[in-house]
Subunit: 321 residues, 2 copies
C-alpha cells in the first residue's frame, strides 16, 4: 500500500458537510465559516508510548486522536466542523489503518465533523489532528474570563483515566476495571454541555494536564485565586473500588491528566439555572470550589485546609512544571 | 527545558495579526476569516531523512516546514493568514529550537503569517504545520479546472532541488552548487504570482511530487490530456552545469519533487496578458505545453515524440505510483 492508496483508503471513508466547498484531493480544502462566527482552531499530536499505551487498539487510537482535539473545541464552547489529519506510520499496515479509521470516523460522524485534508508519511507512528470549529466570539469560553465569586464546576468524574493507566502500568489485575480503561482509551469530549455553556459560563478549560494544573492555567490567566474542596471531586464507583485509599484517589484526581472533562467557572445564578437543564440532558456537573480574589489555590478536605500535591500537571517533556 | 518552557519560547517569537482574536495560550485560537471569502486549509508533515536530509540546518528545516505549506496555499491562489505548528522532538534541544524558529519566523514575517497555536511533544523528530488562508471561492485555482486549449505554464526553474539532492546523496563535490542546495533547503512559495493568477488562471498545483506526477493530478481531475515540450522546461544555469547530460536533466526535471514551483493552466489570452505583469514583478513564467482533449500525456523533444520516464512522482511510502 503506497501513499496514494492510503489517501484513497481514507478518502473513501469520508463523509462531507455542505460547508465543505472542496475536500480531500486538491492542494488545500476550501471551507465556508458560518457568517459572524469566529473560526476556532486547535491542534494536538498523539505519540505511541507517550499519549497512549503501545498496546492500545487501533480503533481507540483513532477515536482518541479526534476526541482530544474535540475536547479543546468544547473548552472554547465552539461547534466542531472540520478536521485535518497528519498520519505518520512506520509501515502502511492496512489492518491497523482500517481500525484507526473505524474509531476516528465513529466519533467524527457522531459529532458531525468532516475530514477535509491532511498528510500521510512514512515515519515513526505519530498522529496529529487539527480541528476547526466556530463560535460567536463574544460567547467563547476563554481561560482568562473567570470572575471572583464564580462557582468552579466540572463535568463527569475525575481521575478515572489516571487510575486506568496506573492499573495498566502496575499490571495489577485486582485494580483493572473496564470502566476505567474505557475512560483512558475513549475519552468523551463534552461538546453538548460546552455549547450550552457558551455565552453563559465565564471561563473553561478541558482537564488534560490534570485538574490542579489546568485550574492553575485558568487562575493565572484570569489573575484570580480559588478554593477547592477535595471531598467534592466527582468520583466514579469504579474509581472507588480500584483505588480504595482516599489520599491516593485525591492525588490521581488532582494530578492525573487525560480525563478530558470540562472545568468551568460561572456565576452562582448561572450555576443554579444549569441544574434543571443538566438533569434534562443527563449531564453530570459538580461544583468543586469558588473563584476568589486572593491569588493561589487553597485546598480543603472535610472543612480543613490541606497541602496541594507537589507534582502538578502532565508535562510531555517529563519535567515537573 | 520542559514543554511549557518550549511553548513560552515559541510564544515570545510570535507576531500577531489584527484578525487573531485569541492566539497561543488558550485551548484553541479564535480567528476572523475575511467576509465572503472561503477558508483555505492545508497540512504537511516533514520528517527528518524523508523530507529533508538529516544534516539540514535547523533554520532551513523551520523555513521549509512553513514553505511547503504556503506553497499549497499558492496553488489555490489563497492569501496566507495563520499557521499552527506541531513539533515533536526527541530532546528539547534549545539551540536547535532557536534555529528552527529563526527560519520559520523569517518566512512567516515575510508573508504576514501569524502562528496561532500548536502542540509540542517528546518523540522522534517530526514537524507538522497546518496553514490557513483565504480566497474568494470563485477565484480559487482548483486542480479540476483545466480547459482544452489552455497554455500550461510553470514558475521559476525546474529540477534544481532534485539535482541538489542528488549531488548531496552522491557526495559529489563536482556537482554540488549552493544555488541548487538552497532550492532544496529553502523553497520559495510563489504567493505573489499565485494571488495574481487567482480568478485569471484556470487550474493550478504546486510541483512537490514531480512535474509529471503533479501535471497528471491536474489532467486526471480535469478529465483532459496534454502535450509537453521537454526542451521548453525552464532550466537554471546551475542545473546545466551540475547535470550536463540532457537526458538526465530532463529526468530530474520531470520526476524530481521538492521544487515547489507553481504549475498552472490558463487561456491563451490570459497567458499573453500575464507577460507584461510578470516582467514588471520579476516573475519568471514559462509556457511548457498545452491542454488537449485526448487524455494522457504526450512528451516531445525538438519536435519529436519521446517516451515518458517510467517512474513518476514521489511517494512518501516508497512505492512507485
Amino acid at each position: 500500500m503506497g501513499e496514494f492508496d492510503l489517501i484513497a483508503r481514507i478518502r473513501e471513508r469520508c463523509t462531507s458537510r455542505r460547508d465543505v466547498l472542496l475536500g480531500i484531493g486538491d492542494d488545500a480544502a476550501l471551507l465556508q465559516v458560518p457568517p459572524c462566527q469566529a473560526l476556532c482552531v486547535s491542534m494536538d499530536t498523539l505519540i505511541a508510548g507517550v499519549h497512549f499505551p503501545y498496546e492500545t487498539a487501533a480503533s481507540d487510537v483513532g477515536w482518541k486522536a479526534l476526541a482530544v482535539n474535540l475536547s479543546d473545541l468544547a473548552a472554547m464552547g465552539a461547534k466542531p466542523l472540520w478536521a485535518t489529519l497528519a498520519l505518520s506510520l512506520p509501515t502502511p499496515d492496512e489492518r491497523w489503518l482500517e481500525g484507526f479509521l473505524d474509531g476516528f470516523f465513529e466519533l467524527a460522524e457522531r459529532e458531525g465533523v468532516a475530514l477535509v485534508g491532511g498528510d500521510t508519511t512514512r515515519g515513526p507512528m505519530s498522529i496529529t489532528v487539527t480541528i476547526h470549529g466556530a463560535v460567536l466570539p463574544e460567547h467563547a469560553l476563554r481561560r482568562d474570563a473567570a470572575r471572583v465569586g464564580d462557582v468552579i464546576a466540572v463535568s463527569g468524574t475525575l481521575g478515572d483515566a489516571a487510575a486506568g493507566l496506573r492499573a495498566l502500568q502496575q499490571s495489577s489485575a485486582a485494580h483493572q476495571r473496564p470502566e476505567l480503561r474505557v475512560r483512558l482509551d475513549r475519552p468523551t469530549p463534552r461538546l453538548a454541555l460546552a455549547r450550552h455553556l457558551a455565552g453563559r459560563a465565564h471561563a473553561a478549560i478541558d482537564v488534560s494536564d490534570g485538574l490542579l494544573a489546568d485550574l492553575g492555567h485558568v487562575l493565572v490567566a484570569s489573575r484570580v485565586g480559588a478554593s477547592l474542596q477535595l471531598d467534592a471531586l466527582p468520583t466514579s464507583q469504579a474509581m472507588r473500588q480500584s483505588v480504595p485509599d482516599a489520599v491516593e484517589r485525591h492525588s490521581l484526581q488532582c494530578e492525573g491528566g487525560d480525563d478530558y472533562e470540562l472545568l468551568f467557572t460561572l456565576s452562582e445564578a448561572e450555576w443554579l439555572s444549569l441544574q434543571p437543564e443538566a438533569e434534562r440532558q443527563g449531564w453530570q456537573v459538580t461544583a468543586i470550589g469558588r473563584v476568589e480574589a486572593a491569588t493561589g489555590l487553597r485546598l480543603s478536605l472535610a472543612g480543613h485546609p490541606v497541602d496541594p500535591p507537589t507534582r502538578t500537571g502532565w508535562d510531555h517533556f517529563g519535567a515537573a512544571s
